[in-house]
Symmetry: C2
Subunit: 636 residues, 2 copies
Amino acid sequence: MKRNLYLTTRPVEEAREIYMDALGSSAEPKTETVRVIDALGRVTSEAVHAIYSSPLYNSAAMDGIAVISSATAGASEASPLTLKAGEDYVIVDTGDPIRKPYDAVIMAEDTQETEGGMIIRSAAPAWQHVRPVGEDIVEGEMILTRCHRIRPIDIGVLLSGGVTEISVFAQPKVGIIPTGSEIVEPYEDPEEGDIIESNSRMFEAMVREQGGIPHRYDIVPDDYEEIKASVLRALDENDMVIVNAGSSAGTEDYTVHILREIGEVFVHGVAMKPGKPVILAKACGKPVIGIPGYPVSAYLAMENFAYPVIRRFTGIRESDERNIKAVLSRRLVSSLKHREYVRVRVGRVGDRYVCAPLARGAGAAMSMVRADGFCVIPQETEGYEAGETVDVTLLCSPEEIDRTIVCTGSHDMLLDVISDMMSGEAEGVRLSSTHIGSLGGLMALQRGEAHITPSHLLDEETGIYNVSYIRSLFPGEKMVLVKGVGRVQGLMTAPGNPLGIKGIDDLTRVKYVNRQRGAGTRVLLDYRLKQAGISPEEIDGYDTEAATHMAVAAQVAGGEADCGMGVYSAAHAMGLDFIPVGNEEYDFVMRPETLELPEMQSFLRLLTCEEFKAELEKLGGYTAEHTGEIRQIIPE
Amino acid sequence: MKRNLYLTTRPVEEAREIYMDALGSSAEPKTETVRVIDALGRVTSEAVHAIYSSPLYNSAAMDGIAVISSATAGASEASPLTLKAGEDYVIVDTGDPIRKPYDAVIMAEDTQETEGGMIIRSAAPAWQHVRPVGEDIVEGEMILTRCHRIRPIDIGVLLSGGVTEISVFAQPKVGIIPTGSEIVEPYEDPEEGDIIESNSRMFEAMVREQGGIPHRYDIVPDDYEEIKASVLRALDENDMVIVNAGSSAGTEDYTVHILREIGEVFVHGVAMKPGKPVILAKACGKPVIGIPGYPVSAYLAMENFAYPVIRRFTGIRESDERNIKAVLSRRLVSSLKHREYVRVRVGRVGDRYVCAPLARGAGAAMSMVRADGFCVIPQETEGYEAGETVDVTLLCSPEEIDRTIVCTGSHDMLLDVISDMMSGEAEGVRLSSTHIGSLGGLMALQRGEAHITPSHLLDEETGIYNVSYIRSLFPGEKMVLVKGVGRVQGLMTAPGNPLGIKGIDDLTRVKYVNRQRGAGTRVLLDYRLKQAGISPEEIDGYDTEAATHMAVAAQVAGGEADCGMGVYSAAHAMGLDFIPVGNEEYDFVMRPETLELPEMQSFLRLLTCEEFKAELEKLGGYTAEHTGEIRQIIPE
């Protein structure tokens, strides 16, 4: 097959260094003069010095009277002194000039007005409550260094120091070219084979956040000459250019060839995952970067390679990166061949941060929205064991993390509903849920990696949900069970149930999609199969795992499977047929101290509020008889 | 005197609570629909759900060939299989749809093209390298909760999920009214008695940062009716109004009276310092806040009271506050009567953060620019001892702090020059200097609260600078002295030296301004006075202290003093006459391990670079013979 070959795959830092060196003066910042009142967020290109002193003159630091200090000598409680208006004193407000012969201020509180004068009861030393000229800012003093990003307070001080215009780095214009014959604009109706173009819009926002001015071009189909023409035009109109997709080694990946023709390619392929197919080039004396098409790859490639170039132009020195240390909840294996960025959810449980890995595919953009940060596994490292402390680069603020309930366990759509309602609370509480099934969740809770675990584990012997599992996993510990909802589990089929599935017995003749090991729904299936005397081997697709009810529903709706087990609300949301199999109890397990958290109070309040009940009604398939009831689980 | 009286002075939280409760629906957010591509930084007013699944169809996850899994069975290294094009396989790029009968993808790398077909060497199980429909986003799935601030990645995912418009909170319009007969616009030429209006411009920037739309009105003089008319107009045109200054209890402070007339005042006076004279009111059904005039008070009042109201409108839940723990370098005394915000410089020395208090005046806006954060002393607390660990709210990022050299000791203008040059370094290194004199600096160094101390302490017996002081303060320790500059110290007088000052002997007949205790310049003065047989009591102004050379120069230039001692560069900068008194050595003291810090390498490099020498030349009064030389100080 005719495909590109990566000549080399370079380590991230090496690639960046090679490129920044190669760019040299191709990414030199330009400067411009702006009004101070328009300068918020801009970056100084040179030091700024005060033109005036502040205060400009000796001035009153208090409301009161300006006096001649020598004329107040001797005044005391025992022998008060009466000063004559206009002669011995004048009334001043804070900021008023203190002119000769006055040289001190007595506070209003310490004076008493009287017929023909003002009584004082203590002497004022010279300069009392007077701000001398230049006390705050001295004429000629350096107010700001170069490369300083202007904050509101800087604007105030610059103006006070008589500075009305400053020299700042010009915002770089960044051309963004989406390419690909299969991509369509978001507002068009996509058909099979179409991919909605979204990366370029994410890039626009990223460029804006970094202080650049994005200029997005129309989508260019996979055509060598058309892409080349668009790149040349963008190079002419911008300071740097981003070409999206076509940066890999596929049959229609033209970018690297075009950049070789019109300029120079310094790096093609970087040892990072996701994000390997990056092109770092220069053409017409300007930086051009080829960014891969998968959204997560695209995001990471932008951050690692486009940001440093944009920062060269903007002069912004600090990165907004926020890093914390967190305890890893699951083993993470990675290859020595690349640096890997793994999306994680982060929460503070007790006095430590814990992080749980999310989906790792380059295409799983939604997992980036749900992620709180990235755990970076360095090249030359095979990964980390569960329980190791790792570095996490946050995608949100540490304060948000501190206000987050970490919910790890079984999946239900009502978690989204509560999460949404919690976000609306004035305190901005968050619910961060990871779906690893009931049993996995209880084990995470045991290891102190979660606040609460939604669970629906059936004890086959007693028919009671959750309690026996909690007792066996937390021996000797007092635990709390907050009753959640009753929900209907059942078999989801295509609309109209074309295969006529009536129950568990029919599963041997259809293509099934299962839930992952440890999921309560899978436990229920196994229980029912056993009752029916069916062995898992008899079911086609028993080993096909999906992580959520909605993912099962989507596979059935998409035709990849004929049938899957899940809750009614998921079937309802995807317009599927639903054959009830049984009612179960979906509860929340936690340690007693978790109940004390203010975030948990908010969770409990919302569980029993009217809006939540209405939402359950809308989703369908739930009962809320005992919702919000707190049960103490005492060890036997 | 006719003045307002504060009825009560309320604790900060109580004031805020009273006000937010009183506002009720007067600060209810409005919503609007925006295009997703314009939504960066906006805040969702309701949960957003996916309209399409992503991928929209089963698609190739790799570049390669789509195959029929059953037709690949049996292929192995030992018995490769040749597939027929168009029949057994089709070539696919990543993202291409996988249509029936194809159900798996083999990577390009694992295939070999041949006459009439493609050779494969392993079987492909069904669904290998195929992304099923909805793998990333499932139709109907909640993508974002309400109250979520849109990030670039959200824009990408929303568009991928078929969402092109979302409902967000409208940005509140905030009217800003600067009042005061003494204030003038920045671009006007100020005269004595004028104050340059800068607060309203700072407020504009603060409102923008918080997601509001500022609307600044013209300056209104201190006139009851004029201010009232302006407030009424602003209330009509905005969602909330900020009135600046006139919020105190001075003779011309009308704001509270006006707000009582046209609305209701809930709080007048808050127990915080700076920032006490705050007015929290409602008029025409909208929030109105009176903010004090001193810049630091204004900043803190905005942050504590205007921000929460703006956030009610914007729906933004998280604050950008960044807090750290730091060790306090100096004792901080405060009153039980109020919560005090003390500006501090912060640095990381070794493995802990240390913070040094800066000027505390409400008018010292420049100290806010120089500050890295606020240390908050709670009401009911009398302050903190040196060495205590305190909470600091940062005004910059923790990463900036980590890249900061903490420089505590003697002041010289060349520190500004180096600081500016360091900011220009690609790594964004910072120099944070606090001026507490040479001796105070060495003591801070001793306590591990500084990286380096600029010092010029003369040993009167040996005539050698610094070394003996270091040996006695760091007994038994190896230390490093980096040679700085030689500099001329002298007496600064008004231009033309009107009093004919020739030297130390003349100080008995003039008004003097001194440096603070522990300053090398004061040590030098004392030494010269002793030589001349003059006692400090003979000098008028010996006890008047200024903290920097420039502050001394400003007092002389302003006429508050006739004469002060300082370096030539300060006299030169302020256009003063200068009578040389002696040459001295201004060096940098540090521990040996400090030399290893990358930031220090950058400092040393800049000390000896050409640009720095040229700047010294420009400042005047310096020699740079040994600049940058490293001397080991071995204990005796």
